[in-house]
Subunit: 399 residues, 2 copies
């Protein structure tokens, strides 16, 4: 090499590159067609298909499409040692294949594992997708064998978890496993064959406990032994938690599960002392009201969503360096927020419960302040204002 | 709308979209040239320029280039309400501009703020870049006014922090502020004008404390009052911590700051009970050895790097669900790892210190085991094996 500067750069690059490889731009995502889809289904542990509209004419939407492709390519590169294939299915060109595979929602990502289809309902970023697919690759039931694993299980307070106690991999365990497959990876299933672990959790033989996020005591599923359908029905009925953390891996699903068109939303940074304290108060309120089916609070930790924080601050007119709680109308993003502007004092659990009661009874709602506000201030991001008004703004990714 | 299914989809999309807007694909990144660069410099609080090679002929590298462009476009969209402009500078076409602006390393991102240039030396993802730029936008010195802010300050044990006590915004404070600008946003500078806060930190008037990550006691900068250069020199000498956490925002810089071609690397998930426990042991070891200039351990929390974890597991032949510590040769990624395969017992602080002593003395090194290993196993990712061997693999981003 004649150029000493270049030489030095490539040396330095090599050293960082052996630790942090980069996107290599190789094509790994398959163009799925009638010719190759069956083979792809059979050959890989997972087949991950993005079902999309034909390439749009609009330049902005083309770039979004490119972004989606690159996210899939990067994900495929990162997971290239796992047995996962990625493909694109065009809703027009590949309509027949889509029908055979049962793909319905354009803009969705479908994951095929054995004879199941799992729809990915999260943020389409490589980070999120990699973690999601690694979860899907794992066994749907994790076995808890000892005290250390039990400690880890007990610390997962943010997740919906079930744990069953079985003699071994008998038919009752199998029913539990079959149920788990219906909810993988969104709801975590654990089992133990160990008497001491079971005793610590007050689990009886063939019994199953259900842990709602942030609750101290589990619910015990009624009946023993339980069939697959018993478990599926119980989980389906109880999966909307009183306090649920918004996660990138299923944020669209959570948001679409609103209560009569509104969400009670709490922003709190767990790493921040104020945010942490507010969260403890929220958990108290949730524990006191866990049996109220009308109450479900979505907790958003802004640290988990760096790309959305500035947007939320603008849309909701909030300072997200501080904890906040409010009501959001999901159709127009209109919102009202509890006044917590006093620097030192957060509301007590009682004050928060009073406010929540006012929300649930309709005394606090998103319409009351509208006469005082500029009606259009909050509308900035709805499609009417879009310059590219010819397309639904997020049909690519958000259904 | 004639199609009820489509109608439903667009309704659902609208509700999620008002909460989570998507990449809109609009062009916001400027093509910088001799005609527009001065205006861009003057007009915005920040100007963020990506200095790149001309569009490569190789298809894989073109895709990587596209990815970089899209990351910048997405970042620009997210921050469009802040006063930041983004631009691309072509090393060939715009060579004159690059020279005038002092851009040197192709593949680097330069941020212009007032009369300073800050090089971004982190992972080129929208998440990381957004957080970095928001940090750069803030004042380089944060004022600690009260007990609550002090508590937040004391919890930041992962960061290098300085705090000074000043009468007010006098010339001594100004010297501190000028010094802070040289390290923003990588090293955090705080100041207080409050006697109670100062007393709590044992700070004397015009005194400055330096907090090394994970250490309980700060170092006091020698001399009072301090000039800008006093502070800059002290920080430059002490910034390589005994235990430093790898962060996406400056991971390349950290990795390039190796010790004689090696890094001692510890993998530990803070959220995992085992990882947490191991980290506590590591902190003890670091505290005992804080005065050893030969020792600097890079702690990597795999949770922070979902896109790299599978690669590290493969390259280093590790199970990253468990904590690990080893020595990595930065040029060839050859490595040796401490055997901690016993499920229940982590090493004690003493055992870890013995092992570290063996590493520092060369008794444990990455070459010893090579005669037993397949020489090429770890070389999979070095350029000789690259199919696209015509280009340095990461000249785009990693210098």
């Amino acid at each position: 090499c004649q150029n000493p500067h270049f030489h030095q750069i490539s040396f330095v690059s090599l050293s960082t590159w052996t630790a942090f490889p980069n996107f290599d731009g190789k094509d790994r995502v398959l163009d799925i067609s009638e010719r190759n889809y069956k083979k792809a289904l059979k050959r890989y542990d997972l087949l991950c298909l993005f079902y999309h509209e034909p390439m749009p004419a609009n330049k902005g939407l083309q770039k979004r499409f490119q972004m989606t492709e690159l996210v899939l390519e990067l994900t495929a590169q990162v997971l290239e040692n796992k047995d996962i294939a990625f493909g694109m299915v065009d809703s027009q060109k590949d309509a027949k294949v889509a029908k055979k595979l049962g793909l319905e929602e354009v803009g969705s990502l479908y994951v095929f594992k054995d004879d199941r289809v799992i729809e990915f309902d999260g943020e389409l970023s490589a980070d999120t997708l990699v973690e999601f697919l690694l979860d899907v690759l794992e066994d749907p039931v994790e076995i808890i064998n000892n005290a250390m694993e039990l400690r880890a299980f007990e610390r997962m307070e943010e997740d919906i978890r079930l744990i069953g106690y079985f003699k071994g991999e008998d038919s009752y365990y199998k029913a539990f496993q079959e149920a788990s497959e219906r909810f993988q990876p969104y709801i975590k299933f654990f089992a133990t064959f160990d008497k001491t672990v079971a005793k610590h959790l007050s689990l009886k033989m063939n019994g199953v406990n259900f842990y709602e996020p942030f609750m101290e005591e589990p619910a015990v599923l009624p009946g023993r032994p339980l069939s697959e359908m018993d478990i599926v029905e119980f989980v389906t009925q109880h999966r909307r938690a009183t306090l649920r953390k918004l996660r990138a891996e299923n944020m669209f699903e959570t948001w679409e599960d609103d209560m009569d068109g509104i969400h009670i939303v709490a922003f709190a940074e767990e790493e921040d002392p104020d945010g942490y304290e507010f969260l403890e108060i929220l958990k108290d309120v949730a524990r006191d009201n866990t049996n109220n089916p009308e109450l479900s609070i979505v907790w958003i930790d802004p640290d988990d969503f760096p790309l959305l924080t500035t947007y939320w601050e603008k849309t909701f007119k909030l300072d997200l360096f501080r904890p906040q709680i409010g009501v959001v109308n999901v159709t127009d993003a209109d919102s009202v927020w509890l006044d917590m502007s006093d620097d030192e004092d957060l509301p007590t659990a009682e004050e928060l419960e009073d406010w929540i009661e006012d929300v649930l009874s309709g005394r606090v709602n998103t319409e009351d302040d509208d006469e005082f506000a500029d009606d259009h201030e909050n509308d900035h991001f709805v499609p009417e204002d879009e310059e590219e008004g010819d397309q639904d703004p997020d049909e690519e990714d958000d259904e």
